[in-house]
């Protein structure tokens, strides 16, 4: 397994430094990383859906894990960005005489359901699943 260097960055999140192999990892640790950075096997980093929530990773000792409150906040922001873009799209479709696939009432219900699902999530897999119906509805309503 490959080794990487991890540390908590100035934003409070985890940075992952991946050596290219031009220099040995100890040299990279000294040259490219702040004091306190540690070398770990890349297989110990969060995998699967946890890997997709990189901005929610937290380092405790030598263990990196997803901070769920932070992940929920990120997914809520993602959902809001999707909803905002789709609101503009739905308005534009109506403006040129096209009917949206989902009624305004059903769209509002779907958004409300997704928001509740995001908030109630206890795993990143649930966070991903929570917004999938919204992503599918947006795809179905595309021109």
């Amino acid at each position: 397994m490959s080794q990487v260097i991890i540390f908590t960055n100035t934003s409070g999140n985890v940075s992952v430094c991946v050596p290219t192999g031009e220099l040995d990892i100890q040299t990279v640790l000294t040259k490219d990383c702040p004091a306190g950075a540690i070398i770990v096997d890349s297989s110990t980093l969060p995998q699967g859906t946890d890997a997709a929530f990189f901005d929610s990773w937290k380092l405790s000792g030598t263990t990196v894990s997803v901070d769920m409150p932070t992940a929920i906040a990120h997914q809520t922001k993602t959902l809001n960005n999707l909803a905002y873009a789709e609101a503009q799209h739905r308005s534009a479709k109506a403006g040129i005489g096209l009917t949206n696939v989902m009624s305004d009432a059903d769209w509002a219900t779907a958004l409300s359901t997704a928001r509740a699902a995001v908030t109630a999530s206890t795993t990143t897999a649930q966070l991903v699943a929570a917004i999938e119906p919204i992503q599918a509805a947006i795809t179905a309503n595309a021109l």
């Binding site: 960055n9 934003s11 430094c17 991946v18 290219t20 490219d32 990189f54 901005d55």
Partner: protein, 133 residues
């Protein structure tokens, strides 16, 4: 015609006593050449495919990476070019070589990756960056 070696990693092929027909430069200390390049994957399991004069890539946040040089550049007046792309929702991206967190230095610069139409920064499967000076 003759081969003139002028230092470690550089030399020229000269015709007669006047002109330089071909100049070879492979040292990061030479100018007007590619000083560094790297190609890597920024999504999920980050990995580096290949590089020259890049010791590491630090993944700071989604769509934000620090490129660290193996050998420092002579100054910060270098030019960077890059592109990114993915087969998923991020079709293509554009790169900025400046972040409010880190102005370019002789040893590193930070890249931010955006995709038109998508909010915030993005990660993509294929990111390629080259540095000229």
């Amino acid at each position: 015609m003759g081969l003139v070696l002028s230092g470690a990693g550089s030399g020229s092929i000269q015709s007669g006593t006047s002109g330089v027909a071909v100049q070879m430069q492979d040292s990061a200390s030479n100018s007007n050449t590619c000083q560094a390049w790297v190609t890597y994957k920024s999504t999920s399991t980050q990995s580096i495919r290949a590089s020259f004069n890049v010791s590491s890539v630090t993944y700071v946040a989604t769509g934000t990476y620090t490129i660290n040089f193996t050998n420092a550049l002579p100054d910060t007046n270098y030019s960077t070019v890059g592109m990114g792309g993915s087969s998923s929702t991020v079709g293509y991206s554009v790169l900025s070589n400046y972040s409010s967190n880190l102005a370019p230095t002789t040893t590193a610069f930070q890249v931010r990756e955006y995709s038109p139409g998508l909010p915030g920064n993005v990660d993509t499967d294929y990111v390629s960056i080259a540095v000229f000076r």
